[in-house]
Amino acid sequence: MKLLHDDAGSVALTTIALLPLFLVVLAGVLQLGALRVSAARVRAAADLAALVAVNDQDDAELARTGTLRLAADAADVARDFFARNLDLSPSLLASSATDVARAADVAAFATAPSVDPRTGARYDRPAVRIAASVPLRTPVLGALVFQPVTTVSVLAVSSPR
């Protein structure tokens, strides 16, 4: 009877039995954390690219009127710097930084006020907007029956204030 009521080692068995589940949960949490960090880096890359583009002003227009106007190539500058910023974290991306930037919807609103047809937002000053869908690698999620690539949407808008 004593043998039947002896529960010594049951904790170890339970641990062994649930360990895979614990590891899956842990891996999922770590992957989600990594995904959040990756998304933050992508968002920062878009924000900084928009800031750089706004900082590129039309000097001729400034000399003529004294007011800030976006340079004619502000959208190209934003796209270029977006790619450059993404290229600093290639291991996070599921595709090349250049392809991501090329596919991004970059718009420069040189005059104000203006309304963004994509978001409906109203800009009271010249603004640059970057909207992109960035595919990020999520291998752990892929191993856990989820998709190995998670697409993160970022939106960055900058204007001089």
């Binding site: 900082n55 007011t67 204030r161």
Partner: protein, 350 residues
């Protein structure tokens, strides 16, 4: 007793021989004095022709005798420019003056009415503007003199325009529907005036027309008024402007990015003619991280701002310009130039 008599006698004698010793009153005018013996012409406030317009007297200086032009007076107000103002259909031609005593002398040559020809036409350095119908405006010719060892030497002739006209505005004038134009009361002309087809020569369409403060003009036709004017005229730039290029468009408000170095070029204009700037200096406003707060006219004001302005605050940067006349011997003039600075910085909005 004898001493008392002697003292009393001395007092009586002293009193009897006493004569009043009146002090010389420099303000008093001796009607019996010979104008020729007055080495200086009268001042403008008392510039009536000497002895009722008699021929000029003689001025004795250093033993030499020279002629004092009739009607000469000391200049206390200096010609500063022609002013044309438009108030509806009324166009007024006036002359701006600056209260100044340059040490020169002047006399009125001739007062002419609207359309009247004058033998001095073409002699004035500032010309004589025309009404909208082409007739010359009314006004007065003045001749300026400087005093030398050999006498009063004429240096220039200036025309002080003083006229006005009513005319149809072209934009609102329908064919035969508008009332006929008529001369304004100030204009002695009786001929019909046509619609204003062009700006007078002294007015620029793009230039703001300066008002004419009443204290700046003395109408020669006003009772008791006396024109006290004339040159040699200093260059009187009407405005100072700021540009971002050595040759560029004037700006009144400048948006500048924080930390961005900008170069502001300062210019002075007399009417629509640019005059050289001898020097400039910052007199008000936040100059930022300026390289220098003053400089010559050939160098810009270079600065940058590292701080944003508080919300709603304005930074009006004011400069004092010293303009140089042409020729360089003409007096210099201080004018102001201002630009409002708005410091901005790229920021995220979403």
């Amino acid at each position: 007793m004898s001493r008392r008599r002697t003292l009393a006698l001395a007092i009586l004698v002293t009193l009897a021989l006493a004569r009043p010793a009146a002090a010389w009153d420099p303000e008093a005018w001796d009607p019996g004095a010979d104008p020729a013996s007055d080495p200086e012409p009268q001042t403008a406030d008392a510039a009536a022709p000497a002895e009722g317009g008699e021929p000029a007297g003689a001025d004795v200086t250093g033993g030499d005798t020279f002629v004092v032009p009739d009607g000469l007076y000391s200049v206390t107000d200096v010609y500063a420019g022609d002013i044309v103002t438009h108030d509806g259909p009324l166009t007024t031609y006036e002359t701006a003056t600056v209260h100044e005593s340059p040490g020169t002398y002047a006399r009125a040559l001739e007062t002419v009415g609207s359309g009247d020809a004058s033998r001095f036409d073409g002699a004035a350095f500032n010309g004589r503007a025309s009404l909208s119908d082409g007739r010359p405006v009314a006004g007065t010719y003045y001749e300026t003199f400087i005093k030398t060892d050999s006498g009063y030497v004429s240096v220039s002739v200036v025309f002080f325009q003083d006229d006005a006209e009513l005319a149809r505005q072209r934009a609102g004038a329908g064919a035969g529907s508008a009332p006929p134009a008529e001369p304004a009361p100030a204009a002695p002309s009786t001929g019909p005036s046509e619609a204003i087809d062009a700006e007078p020569p002294s007015a620029s369409p793009s230039e703001p027309i300066l008002p004419s403060p009443p204290e700046l003009r003395d109408r020669p036709d006003a009772p008791g008024a006396m024109r006290r004017i004339v040159g040699p005229p200093p260059v009187s730039p009407g405005r100072g402007i700021v540009t971002l290029r050595p040759v560029g468009a004037p700006i009144t408000t400048l948006e500048v990015l924080r930390g961005r170095t900008v170069a502001l070029w300062l210019h002075a204009y007399a009417g629509d003619v640019e005059v050289p700037v001898r020097s400039w200096s910052v007199v008000a406003g936040d100059p930022g991280d300026a390289v220098a707060l003053s400089g010559s006219g050939t160098e810009p004001f270079v600065t940058s701002w590292d701080r944003l302005m508080p919300p709603g605050a304005a930074n009006v940067l004011r400069f004092s310009l010293v303009a140089r006349g042409e020729p360089p011997s003409t007096p210099r003039t201080n004018i102001d130039a201002a630009v409002e600075i708005v410091v901005r910085s790229p920021a995220l909005t979403a």
